[in-house]
Symmetry: C2
Subunit: 363 residues, 2 copies
């Protein structure tokens, strides 16, 4: 009997800790796209949570198509005095993987303004079989008015994102404090694969630290400087472009595509800075000799060609990303950094990136 009681108490406690479902709350829901949806590289897409209109833009593989329809890098800004914040999602295509936290690929990440900083407040995700549930992110807050930034799932299509607050609370749109429109086209690294939550990709960390707005076109397994991605970037309203384009293409693809890609972008955006990043050291190189050769060739080709490109083209730059090279413990799967690896990446590019942007009046 005593053991039964202990087990019962433990179960109750577990529920109170994890489910976080406050009782007697009557919710009202607001569609996130009716508030301030930031981080979009193309501002008007028929589905507001898609990064690219895949009816208009063609050429994508099935995987690319799914990825540009995923809401990586998008966040909704709002103010509320509700003591509870929840979210109810209608999912479209759903991802699943062993090397990324479900909170990152199908979940939400909430920050609240604390003085002049964004302070982490809550994160969570429903399990796929419970996808339509009302996910209570946080409860038991005080009822002061708060400025909120809610990151959307990085690798799953959402057709509707309804933010729930108490029926008698206020929820209203919030003006973005983020400055400029800096496009960032990249691989799974830029996309945020292997992060634990949507706000931990390196562009999102940089955005919180600097107040500059990054518009992510990160696509896992991609950013191979394909012309059809180039077209998406040409049509984007951007002040600068940052690229992580040496992570996926093999050396000979880099060789073939780099200069035509720069020329394609330059035609549409004659003056903006185009800033390339070297690719990072992948931990699988530690013992896998073929990976080591492939990666070395990529990095060497990128370094050699970028030396030429920076002379040949105006306002083209090349920055390093070697913060994790000597650590050997920040990889999740041999390719993708953990949250901390991405933090170190963001830190390593912050200074050189800001220096270049400042030179172009972007600060």
């Amino acid at each position: 009997m005593k053991r039964l009681l202990i087990a019962f108490a433990a179960a109750i406690f577990a529920v109170s800790l994890y489910a976080q479902t406050p009782k007697n709350v009557i919710y009202k829901f607001t569609e996130a796209s009716d508030l301030n949806l930031i981080g979009k590289i193309h501002e008007n897409t028929p589905n507001p949570y898609h990064r690219v209109d895949t009816v208009k833009y063609k050429g994508f593989t099935l995987s690319e198509n799914r990825q540009v329809r995923s809401s990586a890098g998008l966040a909704v800004l709002f103010k509320t005095n509700s003591t509870v914040i929840s979210v109810k999602t209608q999912y479209g295509w759903e991802y699943n993987a062993v090397n990324t936290m479900p909170i990152a690929y199908r979940g939400y990440d909430l920050y609240i303004k604390d003085g002049d900083k964004w302070l982490w407040a809550a994160s969570g995700a429903t399990k796929p079989e419970k996808g339509k549930d009302n996910l209570v992110l946080i409860k038991d807050m005080d009822n002061s008015m708060k400025e909120c930034m809610l990151y959307l799932p990085i690798y799953t299509e959402v057709n509707s994102v309804k933010i729930g607050v108490q029926q008698d609370a206020t929820i209203e749109t919030m003006k973005s404090p983020f400055r400029h429109r800096i496009g960032i086209f990249g691989s799974s690294f830029t996309h945020g694969i292997s992060t634990s939550r949507p706000g931990m990709s390196y562009p999102m960390q940089l955005m919180r630290w600097t107040g500059l707005q990054f518009l992510s076109l990160g696509c896992s397994g991609n950013c191979r400087m394909q012309p059809y991605f180039g077209k998406v970037l040409c049509d984007a309203n951007i002040d600068a472009l940052v690229l992580d384009s040496f992570s996926n293409p093999e050396a000979k693809v880099i060789e073939k595509r780099l200069f035509p890609f720069i020329e394609q972008i330059r035609k549409a955006h004659p003056d903006i800075p185009i800033i390339f990043q070297q690719t990072i050291y992948r931990e699988r190189r530690n013992f896998n000799k073929s990976s080591d050769e492939i990666e070395r060739a990529k990095q060497e080709t990128a370094a050699r060609l970028m030396k030429q490109a920076c002379k040949k083209y105006k306002n083209v730059y090349f920055i390093q990303t070697n913060a994790t090279d000597q650590l050997h413990e920040t990889s999740v799967d041999g390719t993708h950094p953990s949250d901390y690896g991405y933090t170190l990446w963001a830190k390593s590019i912050q200074k050189p990136l800001l220096k270049i942007l400042k030179k172009h009046g972007i600060k």
Copy 2:
């Protein structure tokens, strides 16, 4: 046609990167338990991958039962000159969660000795529907003899773990370089919830850094100083005991159980150091007022009672774990640290823990 070719090339590349299935390899498989299985708090369990014999030990809730049958903290040591290492698992009970990487809860994490250090080599997991596949962890290594440590899944039951190497390669057991038998009983934190791979729990990080062997009885949602867990610890062959027992029980449970729990352990282990850790700051406290109160009460009660306990009982110690208190970015879900949070935890206790252990001849 050109786009089709690009898509085709991209698909081939993706396969070569992620599947890592080398061609023409004929494998031979060795059961991990026939090699050197380390990290077991109870050395002889009918299923060698269970931490506790749940037929012999009773009183566990369903969740606790599943957890002590999971292989958290276990690793297999072997030597091989194979250029490929794979693993084939027969899963028993299978976990799933949104706040832990599947590589951690159902996957594997391989380190290889590099001089006097363990260097990360590979990690991975099959998807649940592919659970019986041969998972190729690494290929294309040189064929020198290597000392390998393969961490097992932290939160899933495994009934068989077969390590695959090339048929003509050598695989043999390896003597453990890890010293002593230090029991570590704790909550989800000690278990490694929200890590990205099995080797990133704080006890496993400490073990790699110090060469001391930690035997984990980490159980998510647990370590509430229950007498039936006490019995498991009393029957364990251990030189020291480390506890993370203030993370889950509420203040009044701590009050009720702490002294009887110490006395239970002390009866079975009259001289070993019993080292309690304070619980960490949980990021959900940033805005959730009720969590803040509950957590504050736990920490205050633990601090107050441990002051008494350290006087009342011989060789009982209390150490702090406040490395992440001011960071606010190392939480996955408001409760559990990310890999980096656990690294900081391990770093924060390393010095005081080693000092205490040394005093007791454990070094």
